[in-house]
Subunit: 218 residues, 2 copies
Amino acid sequence: MYLLLASTAMRNFIVVGHKATTTPNFSLEDIPGTSGRLDILCRAVTSAFVLSHGIRKDVCVYLVLLGGETAKTIQLRGETLRHLNPDERTTAALLKKALAVPATPQWAMSTSGIFVRTGGFPELLSDLKDARLIYLREDGTDIRPISKESGKECMACASPSGEMAFILGDHTGMMPEEEALLEQAGARVVSLGPVSLHADHCIVLINWLLDTDPVMFE
Amino acid sequence: MYLLLASTAMRNFIVVGHKATTTPNFSLEDIPGTSGRLDILCRAVTSAFVLSHGIRKDVCVYLVLLGGETAKTIQLRGETLRHLNPDERTTAALLKKALAVPATPQWAMSTSGIFVRTGGFPELLSDLKDARLIYLREDGTDIRPISKESGKECMACASPSGEMAFILGDHTGMMPEEEALLEQAGARVVSLGPVSLHADHCIVLINWLLDTDPVMFE
């Protein structure tokens, strides 16, 4: 049984920052050292959205920030996203603004296309229950583009919502309790190959694979 | 005739910054606005080298800086490169140090694995005359990984030095006189697909293609 990911479906990227700050009290002059590695999440945002001449409209990014007393999640929606530049500092400044918004369990808008709420990974998975969940892990099933010459018949396994959600860890990977939630939710565990890559580079690859060909894995 | 790029050959990435500063007089607080878009080159460096747990040793990056009175080139060699972190600002700080070194036509070391000299694109192409040159441009021949099931026979076209050199423009693309030099040097013009991507994202893709499979194009 092969899973086919159509290039037309909505692309959600979830990045979990286990140490990432939930307050705006970090320094733009030292993002890695003062924000619980929010720099990793900034680069993931850029990889997900920026093209040479625009922003990907069919992308949504969720940053799960677990480095504070209460977990927060920031959502960035390509359809309405504004003010995103390709450099890291500008993205960090947008996230700083989002973290200054008083957060409740309901989404509140910060700047155009950027929303924030309290709540962490379980709440987000519950929201995305109709999406096809794909968990990126080094020892997962190898992901490959379909060969046009292979002649293999592929089965399209569209999710009820037609959405995909790719889940990526930060530099600490994912926690056992998060992996248990993913398994319970029926997530596929998929690998991008033999070399261990940063989350932002994985996102570049996933976007490209979906841009060029449908993506297939067993 | 197909060109096969072996994954074991040395990988050179050349990024040309047409406005990029050749002096250290730029601000780390506003890299895009004060350095002639050196931020683009910083991200290219990170994409070329950083892995989850280390630096790619088989990579060499050349940054051609054309935004000053005299062109300069910075070389970063993976074998001996030190102090490179994945965030943009740290990379910019390393380049700032390199630009403070008095430059002559001979390579002078700045920090471990980072060298600088005067000279621009023609001088660099002359140094790399034995490498297989691959110029990334949107309308080039489509690059694809070899399908294991295609059964096609591929011809290995190793360059005399066993090296590859990928040439990428900045946000302004490449100039007609640079393209003429590339054509004269026998560079192949290759595309990564239908969507126009930033240079750093192209480098992520090339590294991945070479990591996972030999790469083939007509």
